[in-house]
Amino acid sequence: MELVTPGIGILFWMLLSFSVVLFILGKFAWKPILNSLKERENSIDEALSSAQKAKEEMSKIKSENEVILAEAAAQRDKMLKEAKDIKEQIIRDAKELATGEATKLIENAKVEIENQKLAALAEIKNVVASLSVDIAEKVIGRELENKSQQMAYIEDSLKKINLNK
């Protein structure tokens, strides 16, 4: 019976001392302990979520960078292509121009040559005509004289003419 009969003394002391300790611990131990546990958990949570955020930010920036890079590459390609086109155009134009000019020059030269040729021919004709006349005069004038002299004279005249001209 003694075991299952609660004693007044121990009931009293237990209630008193347990309550006092409960109060003291509640104020000076559990409160700071639980608060700092909570704070620590919060700060860990915050750190984790901000790390996550930073990671997301990073991947966002990375993908943005990729887009920019791709755009830049496209731009570069486009510019290179344009430059190439322009270059080809310029070369083509230059070629065309040069060909045109050359043809024109050749054309001019041909015309000039033709003119010169015609002029030369005309002059030759004139000279030949006048020479023929001269030679004929002289031939007629010396006919009666020595035949061999006559031939020598002609030859001599011709030589003079050749030399003059």
């Binding site: 003694e2 004693g7 002391w13 300790v21 639980l34």
Partner: protein, 364 residues
Amino acid sequence: MKRIWLLALLTIWSVGVYATEAEKDTTVQSEHETAKFEPGKFIIEHISDSYEWHILTYGQHHVSIPLPVLLYSQHTGFHVFMSSKFHHGQEPYNGFHISHDEPNKGKIVEDVMGEMIVPLDISLTKNVVSIWFSLIIITVLFISIARTYKRNPASAPKGLQNALEIIILFVRDDIVKASIQGKKHEKYLPFLLTLFFFILINNLLGLVPIFPGGANVTGNIAVTMVLALITFLITTFSGNKAYWLHIFNAPGVPWWLKFPLPLIPLIEFLGIFIKPFVLMVRLFANITAGHIIVLGFFSLIFIFGNLNMFAGYGVSVISIAFTIFMTVLELLVAFIQAYVFTLLSAIYFGMATEEHLHHEEHHH
């Protein structure tokens, strides 16, 4: 340094169990050298409260710490004296003596003209001193780690703080948060944490067979009664509308179970008292039973020893093995009982403050 202390404590548990119990028990034997060894008496003496703290006996010499006796008698008023005046319960003092007979066996009674009257007894008995000892340990322990928390709030826990933090978090997350809805659990945490550590440390100290351990505090019905009473009071005073409605007019129960005979309300109402009562008995019975079994195995040595010295030595090997096994088992029980008491208290608080019943109430 701290580690050494812990190691020392563990060593006391493991080695001390039989070494010192044996010391105590040989004394019991020598005390009753001529008398027969009475295991029942021996066990009851070890699990009961006492006015002095018996440490050991060698030969006929008892070594014990006398504790103060505080009495109030209706006839002679207040009395304060040391329990050593009783000479280990053998002699009367000032009209008081420790009764050896039922119904007040083991208690101080006053002899008023041949009539035995029990005075109001608030003596600082072995259990009271043991309670104080454990409360001092708890207070010092947790205030010191609270200071560590305050000093370095952001840093990772170390050493003792780390070891206790695991248990604190276990109580907070797996017992209290799991049982009580939402932010309300914070209000009950201080009590439940104190409760858990008080039961745990007293269960463990009860397993230490040498001074200052060995008192059967959590196996004392008055101690478990106070703990259960606090749980009961908190549950009752924090009960909300839904809780009381559930008790007196439980929703979802057919009307004929409530009227004309209020069967369910009656059962629910009795439940308010049965729940803490069961808490009280469970802890008391578990711890006391553990102590009785350990002491019972021990008594076997002396029962056989009385028959034959060699039988005693032979049995002692088996007995010690069983005692060690039981002590290890009791170590587990120490945790389980602290857990169960705290968990059930938390569940009762959770039931008293639960909110979702409002929803059903409207449906009704």
